[in-house]
Amino acid sequence: MKFFNNLTLLFLVVIFMTTQQVFAQSTFDVSIDSLHQLPEVVVSEKHSDSEVRSTTSMQILSEQSIENLNALQVSDAVKHFSGVNVKDYGGIGGLKTVSVRSLGANHTAVGYNGITVSDVQTGQIDISRFSLDNVNMISLNNGQNDQIFQPARSFSSSSFLNIVTKVPDFDNDKDLSGKASFKTGSFGLLNPSLVVNFRINNKLSSALSAELTSANGQYPYILHYGTAGKDSTSLEQRQNTDVKNLRLEGVLFGNFSDSSNGNIRFYYYGSERGLPGATIYYNTDNFSKQRLWDKTFFTQAHYEKRISGKWSVQGNAKYNYGYVRYLDPTFLSTEGRLENIYKQNELYGSFSALYRAFENMSFSLATDVTHHTMSANLRNFANPTRLTTQSALSAKYVNNRILSIASLLYTHTFESVEIEDAAPNKSRFSPYLSLSIQPFEDFDLRIRAFYKNIFRLPTFNDLYYSIVGTRSLKPEDANQFNLGITYSTAFGAWLPLFKFTADVYHNNVSNKIIAVPNKNMFEWSMINYGEVKIDGLDVSVESAFKLPNNWNLMLSSAYTYQKALNISDRQSSIYGHQIPYTPRLSGSGRALIEMPWFNVGYSLIWSGARYVSSQNIVENRLDGYFDHSISVSKSILTKIGKLAFNIEAINLSNNNYQIVRNYPMPGRSYRTTLSFNF
């Protein structure tokens, strides 16, 4: 009998495994991670100085801040920025996209070491794939950053989230350094990682890193059968939440002379995860069977040379391959499953020149060529190819009290397809202007302003997806106006840092690319329709206190107000309503106490209520939330290196709040990290 049961079980397992299926939702994206050492982005000044001097609003999280954030993934850290809205489906494997200042995730460029990660299929980057291991800093710029000596692609988005990894450093007499780390915690988390740096000779060094993340992710949650707050509930456990990610990375750095350097990077990311899906009343188990496989490989090279006192040049090149497989084994087609496979290839080359014409004035010209192809196992899929050329001409004026940048980006696309007609080619000029002034010489108060007009191209899904895609789509336009002040100071020894920034902004997105049933009530297709008007305020405060007995206290907080209104159609019942998943108020806070024995960190993410769809009615309201976390950390210097230990408690109030309706977040969880720097 027992044997029979085991046999039955085995049989079921086999059946289950063979009936696994794939479906690729158009919202899932292959993001292509690019690695690149950006020439001008080597930040030698303190991060807080960059933030206050920037002509646009710029926010930075340094390695040290990140360590005390209770953050596992880049998305956890990004939630601390003001003006940011991370759409998080929950858990380690849950999709996470970033919309900045309500412009939509398609308007946010994500860079890895300065070079944009592209996903031409969906236009949105799932930042859940980026780990914080080996990250030196994360920065977020609205508009663009103040560097003009960079690839043209860096000028081409409404905001730019940049992940910068560490550059190897060596003690004088050693040719080897690195870090070994091991994290473990709730829901089966196992996360070992290793970074090894070698000094090959005076000019060459290399870094190799490997990281594995695995979790079963099965967290408990309370399912409420209704939104009224007085409905029946049941205690459930999130299913099909397992994640397995592998990241392998190798970089060769060359410092050939004082005036030239370069690097070449190889990157592989592979992931298999379950998609737990929405918690559907009475049928959650059937909605949590889908699987997703991701593979990304890229190699990228950068070379930079100062030719003379006035001229510098740089070149960048990249090849990227992206693969996504989606399987829905419960899909009731004849095959009994839905399986989609999407492949993307990208070839990229960029050349930039910087000309320091005068002491205070420099000019740059950057030209990029990108070649994208995509294929999919969809019937009659067009297999599109897009060649994009981008050129940016910029001027920068800088003295002690004024910084101003003007740039003009020209974009031209050439589209071709294997089946039917290609989308029309597009060409656009995109202007940008920014200014920062320090009115009083001895008072570090700056007033800043920027204007940017930019667009996002229709994605391959928008244009070519079976039946739904529309070839004739225009780009979606975004206008940004920003006016802000920054102030930074220090009061003697006890307050070494006080920094304050506040920005008001007005954005406008028009020709929005949306899906509507535009032939009858059941045939959907993509159109340009609608407009969103956004007025907002971002405030951030950061301070550091030196306390008696060698204690230090660091406090910082960010606050966001966003009024993002749908103004598409005056006659519509949703005219003037706040757009979905956009809180009016949100914010974050951090505190760190450094003591001689150990450090204690606290972090908070909070959000006001949001609406889950376009109509601002009570049924569509999603409650606000607070997410508190604490950590205790201790590091010991030994003869062979630094040993660090960290223990964290995340989401202390154990609230399964929802960022996306029907996707509960994990409740209270614990994590511990042991790392060794050598």
Binding site: G226, I280, F287, L332, S333, T334, F522, S613
Partner: protein, 359 residues
Amino acid sequence: MNKKIILFILLISAFFASCSDLEDIIDVSELPPLQTKKLLILSEGGMGLNNSTLALFDLRSNFKDLDYFQTTNNRGLGDTANDILKYGSKIYLVINGSSVIEIINVENGKSLKQIPLKTTDGKSKQPRSIAAYGGKVYITSFDDTVTRIDTTLLSVDGNITVGQDPEGICIKNNKIYVANSGGLNFMSGDYDKTVSVINLQSFKEEKKIEVGMNPNKIYADSEGDIYVNIRGNYTSEPAAFKKITPSTGVVSTIENVVATEFVLVNDKAYILLSEWGKPSVIKVYDCLSEKLTTETFISDGTVIDNGYKINVDAFSGDVYVNTSDFISAGSTFCFDKNGKLKFKLDKVGLNPCGIVFLN
């Protein structure tokens, strides 16, 4: 003599009538109310949002409860409700996403039973449409089946396999007709093209009739003719409106009539045509004269945007149009049988579909 002949003819014809038209033995509770006093309007909600609703409107007191099921049962209806049917003292709600049939009491809205519809290997069946006859309800599901539920025992008492992804279902003259859409094969384009004919007594599929690509709604008129709309493949294969004559098995195309959305009541097909950005149009096709009798049913200039589903009160002939823009709660327009607006209900629910008329 003449009297005898007449009596004889009457007897003969009564005999034939009762043979050919079992349908005429009708449960009194199936009849529409003499005067509709309350409406129950089902809204699908959005996929994955758990926001299907059943709204109650009392037309005399103007009382309304937009989430009547929730109010009555302290739990939500579920995800993507597709169909509603009143049969006897019970109302049957077909919830596609949650894959359940919810059976409630007509009088108070209390749930009498929730029947999960799962395949033998535990997958959702994803029920879609419902019809009733002779103490049983019959439900089409996307797992290519029709499920029979006994309305006294409130339990499943049979499943049969039909064509792919069945949509509409109707029962006439001892037969169940099911429109097999194959709509979930949109990836391969291999839509189904058939209507399954099922024997009501044996509950076995007798045959499949080829009608055209992707059939959707299906209804019978009093003469026993079956009307079905064909949606095509949205690209090369066009939509069409077809008639099946069961006695001959002939399938004919009704020329110059497109019926993307329709309902057949009292031998009239009420056709709702909607196009993005244009006012919706209602046409009426008379199934007895087999002619399009009304090109524009709305006679008082009322403009309806985004007409989504159409329902007709069989007793009064009132025509109800539910609207949807898919992002905000839709409205319900009620027209009298002459096409004049009687009343309009706003913010009924997201994607309102079926209506049950109560007295």
